[in-house]
Assembly symmetry: C2
DNA sequence: CGCTTTATTGAGGGCGGTCAAAGAGCGTGG
DNA sequence: CCACGCTCTTTGACCGCCCTCAATAAAGCG
């Protein structure tokens, strides 16, 4: 089961609009949805799967800006041009709509875009704290909490691999792996395969996330 | 002379509005403008001086979200509640306006707020790359370029101290200091006192910023 | 089952952090 | 004007967290 994030209420309006006017697109794992520098004349909403945004330094270092789940708008806050590229983390489908179609659209759909941008900013700012001031262990703990469904039992299957996690958290895959092993040893989480986690001690995870 | 950033064109509308309806407030160095968790029912625009936004971890670690110069709107993208606190970097004056007054205001003022939020997001995303993937040297080089006026000669006097720089760049004051010394030794910059810099080799700085 | 891809584990090194001391800037008051 | 004290910055020595490189192991997949 792919990770599902409860869609926010203000997504309803834009969701409706995109369902009516948007085009459904399918992407393979790691396939590019749009590229860095491309004109941002479309709005992208995840239907199924997971998308990521990323920026690169000239020598190949990568920073992932965020992960996007069903109902989310991908890199919606960009100006005329995408400053991030976007790819599919796993086989995914998105709905795509021209911005021009949007400008003639209902006011509450525009409001939904505004709200999505605001949330995107808050997410980015939260991430600044993580990247600037948290230790490797705190970053991984924060990441797991970020992905964990609220339900007790806290089981989840993530779609991204270690490299994606590392580039999101500003670490290396080895460090991410070590921290996960460490959390397992401390009986804070349980793992079943590479991408299935179960949170045993949410309280410990929360205190570790600082 | 305080650092001046060319105000963006879409600031004109909101600037006008705030001049007419806003209240002028003066803040001492390090004085709080608003606190983390406070209701975000006002819009703040810097008139003179410099402001910063910051978030804290429970043990006191601090991450600065950004610096704000004359014409800038401080933490304008926040929702109902400020997720950052804001303080004056040096003695500063701001103009403050209730959001409620804004909701009844001209459409282009609202548009200005929207644009400011979008730019804030872009700044934050750029900063993610810096914090997640750049080395100490690259961070300091990026910071200097970010502050440098475009004018040739590239002299500038910054208002923030080393601690502010460090908490912005996700480093310690010692590391920031060492990197500045290193850049001086490489004849990339020249320093006159603690807070006056002169960029001698912008090209080198740009390649260092990666 | 064999092959590829991805994750884990280990050893070692380096970048940046920590702690401590010395130095520079700067206002205040004698 | 200089002496004094305070704050902030710089410098140095050392340490530790995380990165790098390399080998092994596990998953995924035909």
């Amino acid at each position: 089961m792919p990770v599902e994030v409860a869609p926010c209420s203000d997504h309803a309006a834009i969701g409706d609009l995109m369902r009516r006017l948007g085009v459904r697109m399918a992407y393979a794992k790691d396939e590019e949805i749009f590229g860095q520098g491309e004109e941002a004349d479309r709005v992208h909403m995840v239907l199924t799967g997971v998308a990521r945004t990323a920026r690169f330094l000239s020598d190949g270092r990568r920073q992932i800006g965020g992960f996007y789940y069903p109902g989310d708008l991908v890199d919606v806050g960009s100006g005329a041009v995408h400053r991030f590229s976007a790819e599919a983390v796993c086989p995914s489908t998105l709905r795509v709509l021209r911005r021009s179609a949007l400008s003639a659209a209902a006011l509450d759909a525009k409001r939904a875009i505004w709200e999505a941008t605001r949330r995107e900013l808050e997410r980015a700012q939260e991430h600044l704290l993580l990247l600037g001031r948290k230790t490797a262990c705190e970053r991984v703990a924060s990441f797991l909490l970020e992905l964990a469904p609220i339900e007790p039992g806290g089981a989840m299957t993530v779609q991204m691999g270690r490299q994606d996690m590392a580039d999101y958290l500003g670490l290396t895959i080895e460090t991410v792996s070590r921290m996960i092993t460490q959390l397992q040893g401390g009986l804070v989480i349980e793992c079943d395969g590479y991408r299935s986690f179960k949170i045993k001690r949410r309280d410990v995870l929360e205190s570790l996330a600082a």
